[in-house]
Amino acid sequence: MSATTGKTPQKSGAAGAAQFAGWDSRKYNYFEPKGRKASHYEDMTVDVQPDPKRYLLQDWIISFADGTPTYDERWTEVKSSDWHKFRAIDQEWERTHYQRQSTIVGMISNVIENGRRSGAPKRFDKAWVKTLSDHLGAYKHAEFGLGTSTMQAQRYGYTQMINNAILTNSSYKLRFSQDVTLYLGELALDIEGIDQEAGKHHWLEDPIWQGTRHAIEAVMGATDYLEQYFATNIVFEPLVAELFRSGFIMQMAASQNDFMTPAVVSAAEGDYERNLANAVELFSILALDPTHGEANRKLFVHWFEKHGQLAMLAAHQMQPVWSLPRVKVAQFSDVFDLQKNRARAIAAEIGFDVRQTLDR
């Protein structure tokens, strides 16, 4: 056969049909896996966003007008000697993300459907219905604010791993804010007393929610993407979000004859466990950075102080909500102490001390 006929000499294009140099090189070989062998998540994620310090031979080829390249380490005050070290603990890539999100969607719609079919909303305590309408209705905006903050933040990270973890965080928050919105909308189909406009009104004007709104707007307005991610998961979630979701809704609902709302809200607790694990992993790598760890820890203390003060104020302003239900099974001071301990433990896990903010 002459070369010019160019006919493929091989009968099969399948792995193993011939053995030659490189025939069995069947793993992505350009990064160091975190464990003994690369996880599927790592294969899907690592190095997809390139870096001139790794393989980007020609450097970033478009810049902003001031010369800032397409991705820039200086988009956060945090410094790292190896941005590529971080791997998301939840190992999320597209398939797992959609599986988990639609499982939650399915769980919530089952709860709502079955609850409505059995007439459960009609048995809710009347005062509780108003509380849900006004205050769960207000709270959904906080979740949305975190969703849009993280949507913004996912543009800036220096690696694909960081940006994708922030992206899925955003997806979870946005879904939950919609879950609550639509849940209240569906309750309104069955019972009197759910005013779908009330929540936004309280969010914008009720003194109970102004501290929370301020804290959220401070996250939305932060220009450092890691500050946004930090303020979301390390400060606001434990001190305000969990306080309300878990310390109020989840604890109070059953005594008001409401078995539906906790199921809807519990999804956010599950989401947060994952987002928290990712965030703690990232921030502890940065806190332990051999060169920049100390400066990073100082910065974390500073961020915690800045957003922690707002969160503490938000929590205190929210206190009157605890006296609204007719049956009072949880006390603000108890649950808030619990959440402060939670925040303390999270900070300790990362490696910085937050007593000066929390014990004030």
């Binding site: 000499p9 294009g13 393989y55 919609q178 401070a218």
Partner: protein, 556 residues
């Protein structure tokens, strides 16, 4: 059970209507009063805060719908393996997937990142919800494509090139062209990049060639996996096109935006053409073994999708808003494809450069010649000899085609704007920008660099506009290097430390595969460094000479 009655109807309860649901969800946003959101990604456009064309979708229907799509994709991949797809797949095709799939996940994830930029600017929350879904979609596209690539690596006869994929993406001259595309989505003026360049042009016009033409050709080459993945990807695009159009409509009524819109439509259209047609045209026309004369050529597909569907039904109607549409550029792009052989010249260039690729390119054969001549009359006279040379020089032991002076090929200049070389020689041009000489493939690309990516446009300050940066001429990175050392530095060497990842043939046989020793002793050089070293007068002569082009020598 009476007819027409079923369990679903008995137990169905009234839910919220989709329009009520979207209205409620849209009410989640508010205007901050304690802390203002910083406009971190600037734009020179003015955006009217009037929502338009709201998306009628909420996340609780979105996620299950996407999961269902995923299930079909992964089910089909399993089925392809059970059906022994790789036994009948055409290696000529799969080899090009090493390049294509090295490039595409980064543009996808860049599209996700760009949603941050338009999300902040979105006029109205419905549109922001649309952008949020698109962000998750693009995360889907990026990782589902990484998965497909891994699957090829695990199951295709020659995994070399897939195994180094993201490293190769960072180093290869061809993948940089794709990076120009992707960085264009996320860098510079937020509307220019994330709305006009990404959505109004790339997604609306060119995803058809990317995600529909490619799958059809894949299937003709025994590859059923790529169609499954990419048609699923494409099914998300209509929502993205809708998002982009809504945002466009919120800009277009303000005459203050018209000048910038005209600039950006021109830049985006031309650059999408230059990049996408070069790459996808080559994959579809040269990566295939199917030479059915009844199938549409890339040029025919282009005419249908870009000219008829996009230009005539999407772009032209914008004129009624007072926007000047660059009809000549559409005509010029068409001429480049059908008269100036843009795709063929690109394929020729990629094959000349085979030693610095990370995939294999085999020679085109008599069967291919016939099809090309049928679809592109005159093709054989211009390219027949070249491919015969290529076939001859593909044999290990020959002087590789890149450095073989016998062929008559002259290595091209690189276009500073689209990063594709200046292949249509008569269109070659150059200019001085901020005191430095640059080369371009076309007048439009010269304009893009010098006029569009600048601090002002037609007397109007454009402080948000991006700039071209980096080491844009790939050849400069290896100027003065021995070819073998460059290949080693690129990492395009197989596990044995000597056999090249790229090969100019499809022989899966060590005896026929080229090694570093077969290519050593040739020195790479940068055409631009040489061109800049000339005096002004010498440059005029050199440019005139370049525009004359070259003739491939006959081969016996």
């Amino acid at each position: 059970m009476p007819e027409g009655l079923n369990l679903n109807k008995i137990i169905a309860q009234r839910g919220m209507s989709i329009s009520d649901a979207t209205k409620r969800v849209a009410d989640l946003g508010w205007t901050p009063s304690y802390v203002q959101e910083a406009m971190t990604f600037p734009t020179d456009y003015k955006i009217k805060k009037t929502p338009r064309d709201p998306m009628k979708q909420v996340l609780r229907s979105y996620f299950p719908m996407q999961e269902e799509k995923d299930n079909r994709v992964y089910g089909a991949l399993d089925a392809a393996l059970r059906g022994d797809m790789f036994r009948n797949v055409q290696p000529r095709w799969v080899e090009w997937m090493k390049l294509f799939l090295a490039i595409i996940p980064f543009p996808e994830i860049s599209a996700a990142r760009s949603m941050a930029m338009v999300g902040r600017l979105a006029p109205g929350e419905e549109l922001r919800t649309g952008f949020a879904m698109q962000m998750v979609d693009e995360f889907r596209h990026s990782t589902i494509q990484m998965n497909l690539k891994k699957w090829y690596m695990e199951n295709y006869i020659d995994p070399a090139g897939f195994d180094i994929t993201e490293a190769a993406f960072g180093k290869c001259y061809a993948s940089t062209i794709g990076r120009q595309f992707a960085e264009g989505f996320v860098t510079g003026d937020a509307i220019t990049s994330a709305n006009v360049y990404l959505t109004v042009v790339a997604e609306t016009a060119f995803t058809n060639t990317l995600f529909v033409a490619m799958p059809s050709e894949a299937a003709r080459n025994g590859d059923y996996a790529l169609p499954t993945v990419f048609l699923s990807v494409q099914s998300d695009e209509s929502r993205h096109v809708g998002n982009g159009h809504s945002l466009l409509m919120s800009l277009i009524n303000d005459p203050d935006n018209h000048l910038l819109l005209e600039r950006d439509l021109k830049y985006a259209f031309w650059q999408n053409h230059a990049i996408v047609d070069a790459a996808i045209g080559t994959f579809v026309e040269y990566g295939t073994t199917d030479r059915d004369k009844n199938k549409e050529s890339y040029a025919e597909l282009w005419h249908r999708w870009i000219y008829e569907d996009y230009y005539r039904t999407y772009m032209l109607p914008l004129e009624k808003y007072g926007i000047k549409i660059h009809h000549d550029d559409v005509a010029a792009a068409w001429d480049r494809i059908v008269k100036s052989n843009y795709v063929h010249l690109t394929a020729q260039f990629f094959s000349v450069g085979w030693p610095v690729n990370f995939w294999r390119i085999e020679a085109q054969t008599e069967r291919d010649f016939e099809w090309f001549e049928h679809k592109y009359p005159g093709w054989y006279a211009q390219f027949g000899n070249y491919w015969k040379w290529y076939a001859k020089l593909s044999e290990k032991g020959q002087t590789n085609v890149l450095f073989n002076a016998d062929t008559g090929y002259t290595y091209p200049h690189r276009c500073w704007s689209c990063m594709v070389p200046c292949l249509i020689r008569e269109d070659f041009t150059y200019d001085t920008v901020e005191g430095k000489v640059y080369t371009y493939c076309s007048e439009q690309c010269r304009w893009t660099h010098k006029v569009a990516f600048a601090a002002e446009y037609e007397g109007r300050p454009t402080p948000a506009m991006g700039r071209f940066s980096g080491r844009r001429e790939w050849e400069e990175c290896y100027h003065g290097w021995d070819l073998a050392d460059a290949i080693t530095d690129l990492g395009f060497v197989r596990a044995d430390g000597k056999t090249l990842v790229p090969q100019p043939h499809l022989h899966f046989d060590d005896a026929k595969m080229w090694t570093l020793d077969d290519v050593r002793g040739h020195i790479l050089g940068s055409p631009l460094i040489g061109f800049r070293a000339l005096s002004d007068a010498e440059r005029v002569t050199a440019a005139a000479e370049y525009r004359k082009g070259f003739t491939i020598n006959p081969i016996n």
